[in-house]
Amino acid sequence: MLNNFILKTVNVNKNFCTGKTFFSNKTVTVAAVNNASIELKRGGILGIAGESGSGKTTLAKIIAGLMDYDSGEIFIDDRNLKNYSRYELSKKIQMIFQDPFSSLNPKLSIGTTIAEAIETKNKKLDDIAANVLNLVGLSGDTMQKYPHQFSGGQRQRIAIARALAKDAEIIIADEPVSSLDISVQAQIMNLFLDLKENLGLSYIIISHDLNLLSAVSDNIAIMQNGKIIEYGQSEKIMNRPENPYTQKLISAIPVMSLGSKFL
């Protein structure tokens, strides 16, 4: 039954405790992720939307194995996440972050950055790196260059190339385009769609931009205060949202109200 789904989470919980500080000796527990259950279809795109602090990034980090969780189950290819070694998991899931300026090491050349991610003694590292750079639309001489020589959009392409270098099947992209200009946003989103078609990747895309999510996702999960408050097909969520918070989010999307022919 799970076979259609490459990834599935069942009632995942994660609490954060604030420690005692100089200013206060109370500890407060916050449910950062509260009973989150999501499913990602093989070759599909799942969008997760919500405002800052809604727990979307925490959930993503848990799925990518970058953060522990308190309870619940996560299955990747029918196998419990806890049974994966770190190395195995990195070949299944890779993550792309919002800020391509801080996610690349400024002291490493692009070739080294990608080779480091592959972490094998494979002699063909350079070939692999050139190949993935090619996949994201960058030329081979990119390898000798350093991050500061690239624009935001190009850096995000390099981050995607690094994720591809491991042959991962699932890409979790946390606000991958929100720091980019609109025209560059469109280029990067198209790259995601091309790679999905050509390599059969599955994506979890996290964004606060519901327009963007609805344009690419099969399903959307709306999060608020750590809970998934609405979850379903993206057309349904956009056209017939049931939860009042979802309705509020959708009504806040800026629209060009002049009946532009481009809408």
């Binding site: 609109i182 469109a186 280029q187 344009a215 806040a252 060009m256």
Partner: protein, 314 residues
Amino acid sequence: MDKILSIENLFVEYTVGKKIIPAVRNVSLTLNKADSLTIVGESGCGKSTLGLSILNLLPKEARIIDGKIIFHEQDILRLGEKELQKIRGGKIGIVFQDPLSSLNPVIKISQQLRETLKIHQRDFSDDKIEKLLETVQLSEPKIIKNYYPHQLSGGMRQRIMLAMAIATKPEILIADEPTTALDVTIQKEILELIKKLMREFNLTVIFITHNFGIISDICNKIAVMYAGEIVEEGGTSEIIKNPRHPYTKALLSAIPKTHKVKRFNTIPGNVPDLSAMPDGCKFHPRCPRKIEKCAKEEPQLKQKENRLLRCFNP
């Protein structure tokens, strides 16, 4: 109509190492009383540089090469620091994208507002400060005035910035990406607040943004910038309904729609390197409508029907 601000043939350059980067080239704009103008464009198009020039707030690497900025028949660029201080934050207010870095983290909100009022010789009593906080729709002004910036949310901080900007009843408000760092629901609230302030104070507003979506609601004029130049300028509804410049068209069509798409519309290529700009029209390497002339000759900004347009083949 009452002309309040006019920018005439402004040129601004940055010097980075040995490179000279022309950030704003030959920009002219006119604002009438109660106008609201949006300057739209992608990063590096010179829109923020233009905004900062109006208050002569440019960083030291930047230099205004030529042009005038006339505010009530005075050229701002030729004023001394003392006279400029009266305009800056007095007659013209400004709010920036990131409210946290624009507020002093170790000074209470009330004190920061008081400073602004004091410098411009206004009433700086507690009553006045509470009233200002009320104007920007912060509930419990008596409590909030004693807070430090870190105790407030992003939306509340932007409200404080707006309170500071309007404290001296300015004539012009410059808002540089005021909602970009905020969540959509908060963005909507802040835009509503700016609209309310525009009505109440009869403000003339210059909005700087890359987000077309928020403009149509708030502004009556748009100027689209590309590589330091204005490429299209006119009324908001005319431009959004019927964009003529290929760049404006491409920008508008790249905005995600609320329905599923096979692929997004993109603009091929990248924004040109400002220190090595192409000959002819700066947009021609990326333009779907380029003709032979575009690579050789630079188009001028000309009146075409109801707008200004910089294009040989619209």
